[in-house]
Symmetry: D4
């Protein structure tokens, strides 16, 4: 323990067991990891009590199984994003309580009730999509938000081409503590929702579209330039990131 170590050193200086010069050298060389100053000892996820997250894309099922079995030994909750069923098939062999959310492509290793009650913020997140093709990204956001302790309302397929669909669900959306808007193509839904609700809006552009959509860049630029205020944007298809930010907002309250 660093606290103890420094105090011990100072006591040794006091007692004359360590010279001023030697103490100075020790203080100067002391590695950061050993200092234990709260501000830098651990990364955000661990500090907040959120589960450890494994980004599965680009890893083999074997690697994922290996990493998760290591993490599970430390006793915390774990989630894996961008996981294929093959990845899960490997994980389930090693961690029988693991669950798989197919559309969200998330593997979760959680307490029995499916989410960590301790995490429960009793706050709500509305996840809203423009189209049905945006649902996989939305599910990544929704399942993540649930795992991180939020209550989630899913309002799917209410894009602006038929804006009455959005209005029909507006009462639910307006009650959310945070609204996540998931939209591809031109991403206009983020601006429309941003103009209608009082809660923070997190916009997730998706890569749904073709041609000049440029893999989601059209929606991304649209959302960054939203004429509605109070809209923050995350990376294309980053449902996880949106839910994480929503959870940080809800957690702080």
């Amino acid at each position: 323990m660093n606290d103890i170590y420094i105090r011990k050193l100072l006591k040794q200086v006091k007692n004359g067991n360590v010279s001023v010069d030697d103490a100075y050298e020790q203080l100067k060389e002391m590695p950061f990891k050993d200092m234990g100053f709260a501000s830098i000892d651990n990364h955000r996820a661990l500090r907040t009590g959120f589960p450890e997250v494994v980004f599965c894309q680009g890893k083999t099922p074997g690697q994922i199984g290996c990493i998760m079995s290591e993490l599970v030994k430390n006793g915390g909750n774990i989630m894996g994003t961008r996981a294929d069923r093959e990845d899960f098939d490997e994980v389930i062999k090693i961690i029988p309580k693991a669950r798989y959310f197919e559309t969200a492509r998330i593997i979760a290793v959680m307490d029995e009730d499916g989410r960590d009650s301790e995490l429960d913020s009793f706050k709500t997140v509305s996840v809203v999509t423009a189209g049905t093709a945006d649902i996989p990204v939305a599910e990544e956001a929704a399942v993540t938000a649930e795992i991180l302790g939020n209550r989630v309302d899913r309002i799917y397929d209410v894009g602006v081409a038929g804006i009455h669909r959005l209005f029909a669900k507006l009462d639910i959306i307006k009650k959310a503590d945070v609204v996540i808007v998931v939209a591809g193509m031109e991403g206009a839904l983020a601006s429309v929702v941003g103009g209608l609700v009082d809660a923070p809006v997190i916009a997730v552009p998706t890569s749904i579209g073709y041609g000049s959509n440029l893999g989601g860049l059209a929606a991304l630029l649209s959302m960054l330039n939203s004429c509605a205020n109070g809209v923050g944007v995350v990376n294309i298809d980053n449902g996880f990131g949106a839910a994480y930010l929503a959870s940080v907002i809800n957690r702080k309250r």
Copy 2:
């Protein structure tokens, strides 16, 4: 007259006044400009009876005055787009009946009543803008549409950040034969309007915005990827082009 010329030539061949070889050579070498096939003799503006258009940007006031005074001799109506007041000051010296539309930056030389009644389509165009900053582009569209014989409704500053403003004017917009939507920033208004009206929608992205707006590219991409069907797009800030297309649509009916 080409028709006459060719028949005359053939008669000369028939009468033996022109040899087959000479006739062949004449037919082969006959320049296109002299052939008089309707399809290629003149450009679109002249065929449709629309005024001759001068794109003033990048021309000096002197050049504009010179070109317009030439055109006015031919007796037709003339309009100049992207014209500064200095351009107009030069034109008015030479063509006293010229008028200047300041916000639209258009110089018009028209029949006495301010627009050519012969052109009047008795059709309407709604010009809708997201914000007040889009108005110069919208005015270029509106004034052009009026000059080309349409009735124009201006519905300005009804962007999606406060969508009730749009709904308050929806009755007017829904009655239009063509709707022109002018919007910068994220350009979401085009999709929303496209989902609400039955008429053709022409979307004009504007360069209003900053940062990742990229001089209007964000709005342009947004409009091209509109989730609403029935939306055609023109170049950034091209109010004239939108009105021209609207007029072609209304004229044909």
Copy 3:
């Protein structure tokens, strides 16, 4: 039926069977989709009498079959775009009268005569392509236009590298009510046609090309910057969107 429902409610109020307060609550809470206010009750396609459209790309054959069989119960016409033969094989099992347009990649469920005569606008659309490789996009436009009630002329492979081919077909093109120009590579055909015809021109850039074509962006930018007036542009490879806009134009007349 909403109309009936509201009238019934009003009659109940009249008859004293429903109190004013209860009627008010019902009117206020009634979901938008059920209210039947013309301006927002349904999306554009339904209002116009056009068939319901399913964008099949990214959906499994099973999902498409499921959605279409739902829609067919409502009795309307249906079309599916970007549909593979496998998608059709699934649909035909459930909806025997479904037809498949292979090149256009369209599934249609229509009245017996192959298109809905009620929709027939007796207007014509010319679909013009620069090359043979543009034909799939052109066919998506042509078949869509036919399904939406237009008469269609196909003028394929008349690109500007051999401009005589275009002139040979100009008489047909000039008779069209709307002209759709489908071109990849540098997309110059849109400008040339725009300068030659009086009808509205809808330009469809295609992703045909390679290298600095950038997946169709070269043609898209070319068309947006067309020196010919009266040209509206849709997204890359969006044959359906072009035909839809053409149909809206023709329908309104």
Copy 4:
């Protein structure tokens, strides 16, 4: 009042003073602006009690003075962003209590104490910058946040090239309810702060830099791709937008 109006109508139906058909027509045609359904009657700023905001860029001093004097009649607080001193010189003539924040380029018309105590959320926002050149954008954020009722800590010039500067201020930053990170060049500060604090982080890329910075795009892309979770991004140089989102987050709590 809409509520009253509908009830009155229903009573008239009940009493037989209005026929069912006439009532139906009135309900159907009733413009949205008159319906008074809470969800769409007013835009976000007004609902939240935040001041009305005027985006001054691209408007003349005269126009700004005119708009603000109109708004001030309605009695609410007003703020103008991207305002030059010349704009303020015009406004101060008409509204003597207006104040000008030079670096932030903000004009504020507020209650006597300089900010609206009613708005006060007693929550804090840390505004952190990488360099001194980012300060104007940071000040736009900081002043906006203060006007919208937050307590603000300014931590400027703590970029990652000398990361000890950041650590020296970490205690302050870690106490904030929301952290706004303002950075140009490569924008790395957002990721580093995101990894160190538990509060939501709003990243504002600035256009500070040159060459391949591309007017702030390098920092924007960097922030969107942040390896730290819980980071939302707004448009380049959009200090106002960041502060607005921070205020929405703090307000809801």
Copy 5:
């Protein structure tokens, strides 16, 4: 033969076998392809005596076989570019004298001696590449140039990273009538060669490279910005186009 046809018609007019009116109608209606007016009767390839070219990419082997067997009936030479061996396997069934150039991916149907002696310009083209990976594009250029009647020197793998390799071959390159430089990565070879030879240089960027090469855009931009004068650029990987332009230059001489 068109020439014959028109003369025959004129003779019939002369002889009175065809009336002037009928002849006029025939001339007027005669499709452009049949008119034989030099300026527009046929596209460039046919006018110049170059073989007809089929761009095989995106066509099925069956389609290619079909098109080529049609063209071969007209008696001219034919070449197909971007052809896979499967394409050739189909063509060879129908046209036994067809040849396949594997690396160049070209199918040629030519006179017995492998190229059309009539086309022979007795001019030379040097095809120079930076690396070995550029060879397929270079072979497309080299084989095309040979088919179009040029003598071709191949100087491969002489990129600027080992510039002595280039100097060792400079004598050959300097003797060429046209030099085609094929290079990917940074495309610097075009500038270096452009500074060393007196002949026209045609630069072909290739898509060889990775990362910020952007599929050949880096080389393309490099070549367009060449500090050496006298360099013309064609599209990425367009070996055929470079050889065609080289042949046009050599042909004219």
Copy 6:
């Protein structure tokens, strides 16, 4: 003279006046500039007899005057491109026979007859523009081509929006040895001309346009993707480069 020098050295070796070791050292260390191997001794312009060219943009009038007065001492012809009148005012003080081409922005110091008769290739270059705004770039090309000894035909304002204008001038264009096509906006003219003439076509995109024109990139991409063969492209607004390449082509013949 290097030839002489090496022979002299070898003779000295032969005569025993220089040892083998010393001769080896001299050969090995001899700087390239002194070796006189034709292939690398001088840059292209000097080899070809073309005038020395000064790129004036970014240089002060004083610097330009200084450089040109140096060059004029060597007795050759000189031209300065991208020169303002102020630049010329400085040059004319020092070199009285200097001439200024205002639209082309070229300063020329040539033999009395205005161009170097020795350079005269008696070949022609057609410089064709789409619009009037392209004329400055076209004049840079035309004046350069004249200075480099070509006969030049100027065919301006024949863009494809009114394609009959092009056909009216086709006879002249078809007679050129090289055709330079100068076009902004969508640059379609290059493809159309490329399909109509037999000569090499050099395409010069111009920065004329706005919005999605992207400073000439739209025209550049269009020309690189031309569906017509035999088209080479130079940098945006690079009239000089096009004329230089045309001259290299004409010179070699």
Copy 7:
């Protein structure tokens, strides 16, 4: 002085004048900038003994004067980059020994001999440019390198369009410990030099060029894709950064 402070504290602990607890609190709370732990106490420039650098662009002359006069009090050497003469005029008033390098746009406040002899690495840097327009960036590099204690050879205007110029200077370049290549346009010089020398090459793209040069992006991409190995790239026009990296390399040796 921090070293002194910590030692003093430790002595006080030793002497019993400060309790262990108080000393611990002081050590823990001591801001990082005061702790003097080598790894993070100060940014790189200070650690290496290099002068403090002020980036003057975007700062007023007054601000620059103010910052520099503060820094000069600490006794170290100072340099200001991107400084205009007006900036210097302000600085010279306050710091008489300041010097201005006009082309390099650098203000230096150094020891009497013009550079800090203590810094002298007795290593050499060759600064090579493609053209004369690249010289300001090159001078920024050269002057910086001299200030940071390197011997500098300037080899300017040896671009690849006349590659003999480069070879003539190759002996000098090959002797350098680090070579900085400064080039705009297509930036090919970096690859050529990279293939010829054994020393590390630092490539600096410049914004010299026009059109598709895209403000230096063409040269930047070219250099990043260099076919020569051993080339590192810095930002466009970043002469200072290149020289700084060169100095770090030379310093370490």
Copy 8:
């Protein structure tokens, strides 16, 4: 041996066995590769004693085997980059002592001890990665650096989202002679490391990421705009290039 050849020739001249004219012709015509002038005789790799490098991507296993067996005859060391196991399976058949580094995708043919002791610089390179997904690129760098004679420390997965991980390893990194930072996503690690170490930093952006990462461009731009000085950048995923540059730096010392 060239040296020998030239001396022999000179001796023959001296002895009169070869005439001056013949010797001159031989010297003049002697291909550059045979001349042995140090400055240009061979490319960099050979001069420095580094192994010959084969870029395997895009080559067939057969081609790679063929090239390597040729090179091995010359006796030098060889390495192949971007090699798949299939490539190695082919090589091992021919060159039994070849080794394969799976993650690095490198084939090495070296002296028995696994690296060429003669090359050993006894200098160290730290290869630092932000995440685990960056490891393949890092291994390409690390293995290359080892083969080229450096001692390598691997410090993986120390990205800025958990910056304490970096600080824990800082002592090792600070001791390196050159630091290679390998990072995808936003690439912030390069700036942070650049601010903490005194050694030259070579930044390698990787294509790890998704969406607006744009295949590594986000990290690339981030690194080029680093606020830390002394950072040089190589192409995306170019681990080999970074190690090569590091080796050139270490070798020179």
